[in-house]
Structure formats: C-alpha cells, structure tokens
Amino acid sequence: MSGYLAGLLAMLSINIIVAYSVFLPGSAGLLNLGAAGFVLVGAYTAGALSSLYDMPLAPAIALGSAMSALVAFLIAFPILRTRGIYMVLATFAFAEVVGGVLLNIPSLGGAAGLSVMAYAGLPVVVPCAIGTVAFVAWLMRTRFGLSVRAIHDDESVAHLFGVHLRMTQVMALTLGGAVGGLGGALLVHQFNFIDVQSTGVLFSIYVLLYVLMGGTQTVWGPLFGAIFFTLVPEGLRKLSELDPSLKFLEGGRYIVFGVAVVLIMMLRPQGVITRTMIEGWGGSARKKEAGA
C-alpha cells in the first residue's frame, strides 16, 4: 500500500473514532461542540507518557483514553445541569479551557506543541477503529443503548419506565470521553505531533458536522459521515492535482462540504443514514429470506 493511501486510511480510522466520541453523548441528546477537548486530553496524556516517561505504546494509549474518560466523568455533572443552547456553549467552553490549560504547561511544549517519537501505524489504528465501531454497535443494542435513545426521544416517559436519567447521561458522556481520548492518543502517535492550535474550534465543528450529516439515529450514521467527509474532500483534492483545469476543486472542496451541510440540513436534517432506512434494508432482506 502506498504511503499516501496508508496515511489516508490512518486519518480515516482516527476520524471514525473521534466521530463516535461525539455520537455517544449525541444519541442521548447532548450536542457536543467540544470534541477537541477529549481528543486533546487523550493525545497529550498518551504523548507525554510515551515520550517523557518512556511508556510503551499500548499502556500509554490506554491511559490516554482513561484520563479522558475521567475528565469527561468529572465535567459531566456540572455540564448536565445546563440545558439546550447553554449546554452546547458549555461543551464548547470546556474544550477551550482544556486547550487553554494545556497551552500553559511548558513541559508539554506549550504553544509549539508536543512531539513524540513512538509511532502507531495502520496495524494499531485500523483495529482500534474497527473495535470502536463494534463496541458502539454492541452498546447501542443493549439496555443501556435503549436508555440512551429513550432519553433522546422523551426524558420523562423514559424516567417513568425506570431509566436513570442522570446516570445514563453521565455514562454516555464518559464513554464519549474515553473514545475521544482513544482517538487523540492514536492521533498523536500517528502524526508524532499534537498541538492545541490545530485541534480547536474548527476541529470540533467538523467532527460534529460529520456526525450530524451522517445521522445520529443509528450506529452507522457516524461511520458514513466520517468516511464520506474524509474521503470526498481528499478525492476532490486528488482530482484537482490530476488536471490543472480542475484546480478550483482544491479550494472548492471545503465549499462543497459547506454546501453539503446546508443541503442536508434543508433536505434531510435527520442525517443521511436514518433508522427507517436501515429498517427498510433489514425488512427487504427478511422478505427475501421468507421468499415473499
């Protein structure tokens, strides 16, 4: 596999993982505009452990994820006291505070960022992505997944039937943090570098957009969103390199992304992949089985 394709696949895998970190709280109705926060915690923790303390890759990454989960757990209670637009702003503020704090830790490189030597290549990153998707797919099929989606649709009836609102939301946010931390830990070891500047507001916005465009109704939405919105802009860029007359595609690919966002919100706001769609496929498969 060429270096370019390998890099692309690694990027895609990480994007998928980070997308799921936004999906988890999102499926409970918690819109997270602070994905960068969890990614940064995971990246800096894992990066510091592997470079400053010479920890081997696997435990460093695991601890990066765990640290992010802990931070998510701690921040969950105060953030869940807010509602609606205030909650969106709170998640955003959280990510900014994380970035701000990290910028001021000189041993972690400050504004210049953190460089690490240890490398996590495809054999690490891709299985993690697959594992993440499998985990979330399983999770959403459990009672916990049902609680999460029930809260999203109708909190008070969910509560009536025994769903623990606060604990479920906290768990969703904590798991989202763990997954985001994993993404960050992998990110820093794939690119051998992390800095606050490049993993900030725009990063959080893009990840949120992949997930919303893909669809938050099912587990497959974020996967589709991450794949489509990683590969298509890259594809457009490659195309623009091939033929000089297509140069505009290079700058234009983000415009295409923006237009896609607006169009999807206008025409299919629940995202491309919806529950009804998946059930429809399942239904026709079942019909085929039954020979109907």
């Binding site: 916990f144 989606r149 029930a150 009836v157 039937f161 239904g283």
Partner: protein, 251 residues
C-alpha cells in the same frame, strides 16, 4: 371484595388553581373501572397523581395494600402500576419492539441485549396477542395512529402490571380498532389485571367496564355501577351542562 387502588381525600393544586379537590374512590381488584367526566374534570391529572408524575398536596394513595403516596415514579412501575397516555408518548425514533420493551426496562440490567431474538421473545409474543405482530422492527413514527395507540398499551402490559391505567385508549380509533382494543383489554382483565380507564367513548365504557367513577371540576360526583350512573342526577347535570358534547359522545 379487595381493593387494588384507593384514593383518600386526595387534593392537588397548580399555582392557585385547585385541580383535584378532596377526591376519594376505590378500584376493586380485578375490576374494569371507568374514570369519566366532562373535559377538564381532572381525569388525566388523577392518572398523573397515581403514577407519581406529580406529588399530591394532601390525602393518601394506596395500591395493592401499600401506601404509595411517597413512592418514586420508577418504583411505582416496579410495584405493579403501569399506564398509557392520552397523547401518544412513544419514542418516535425507536422501533415497535424497542418501545414495547421499555415497559420491562425497570427489571433489566444495562448490559443485557435488547435486540436478540431471545431478549425480545416476550415482547414479540405480547405484540402478537394484541394483533400487532407484523410491525416489530418498524420505526413507530412511521406507523398509523391507531397502531401506535395500541402499541402504547402493549408497552404498559410489558411491565406486568397488576393495575393498568389507560388514558383514553380508544380515542381516535375506528370501530374495528376499538373492538380489537376492547377484546384485548377483556383478555387482560380476565388474566387478573385491574383496569382503570379514562374514556369519553360511552359505548366502549358500557361494553367493557363494571365500575364507574365520575369526576367533575376536580371533585368526585358519583361512584357505582354503569347502570346506576345513567340515572344519577348529579352526573346528568354535569353532562347536560354541555349538551352538544353530550350529543356527540352518545352518538
């Protein structure tokens, strides 16, 4: 005759408005009791008080021999009280099966699978018995109103209640659907579940119920048999106050 559910001197105010005023009645075990009254009489509020959505201001509610006045909402479900809602309150983005399985959620553990055949067997069977077996995987928002209403009843049944509160279960149903609902409820009642039904559909009530409680302006004005309620002066006055509505309902 034992009493499944009893309200004693229950009152509830919202802001300055006394919505339920010193209401007392008993629901005999195994009965099919109707809670009727003109619009605004407080019937849905009574349900909300029984299921614990609102706390009562004064009085006492007992269910199945226990004082449940202070019991939390989720505990009441575990205790054996389940309900349906006047305006359908299903989870629109979830499938029929998932909605229905929410009924038994309080007895489950977070890591148990919901979508395996084994886990959903009971839900499928209950849906079948209710005549809703063809819709398990469908997203409920896509289903017709009449079907959704009956799915909500099945959800309540999944909680294995001993007392089933139904808030206008027949509203919006056509004749065929209403009859199927009545048959379902009869079966449920025959299995020993006590029914308390709020309804405006008088023929439905007369067909199904053997005990009637009438509310008006937050007060109980009658409690007794369906035959007696037709004769009672206070009830007639309450309903005759809105002649057009009376006409429509008895049509």
């Amino acid at each position: 005759m034992s009493i499944a559910l009893q309200l004693e001197g229950v009152s509830k105010s919202f802001g300055g408005l006394k919505v339920i005023d010193d209401v007392s009645f008993s629901v005999p075990t195994g009965s099919r009791t109707a809670l009727i009254g003109p619009n605004g009489a407080g019937k849905s509020t009574v349900f909300n008080l029984i299921s614990g959505v609102y706390p009562i201001d004064s009085g006492r509610i007992s269910a199945l021999g226990q004082n449940i006045t202070q019991m939390s909402v989720a505990h009441r479900v575990g205790h054996g009280i389940a309900r349906s809602f006047q305006n359908i309150r299903l989870m629109p983005h979830l499938s029929t099966l998932e909605n229905v399985m929410l009924g038994e959620h309080h007895r489950s553990r977070p890591w148990e699978l919901v979508s395996s055949r084994k886990a959903s067997a009971k839900a499928r069977a209950t849906l079948e018995r209710a005549g809703l077996g063809t819709y398990p995987g469908q997203v409920v928002a896509d289903l017709p109103y009449g079907i959704q209403k009956r799915i909500e009843v099945v959800r309540a049944l999944m909680a294995e209640p001993r007392i089933l509160l139904l808030d206008e279960p027949a509203a919006g149903l056509n004749n065929v659907e209403t009859e199927e609902l009545r048959r379902l409820l009869q079966t449920v009642s025959d299995s020993g579940v006590t029914l308390l039904v709020v309804e405006h559909d008088m023929p439905f009530v007369r067909h199904l119920c053997n005990h009637v409680v009438v509310l008006n302006f937050g007060r109980k004005i009658f409690e007794g048999t369906p035959e007696a309620v037709k004769q009672d002066a206070a009830v007639l006055e309450a309903y005759l106050g809105t002649p057009d509505a009376m006409e429509a309902r008895h049509a």
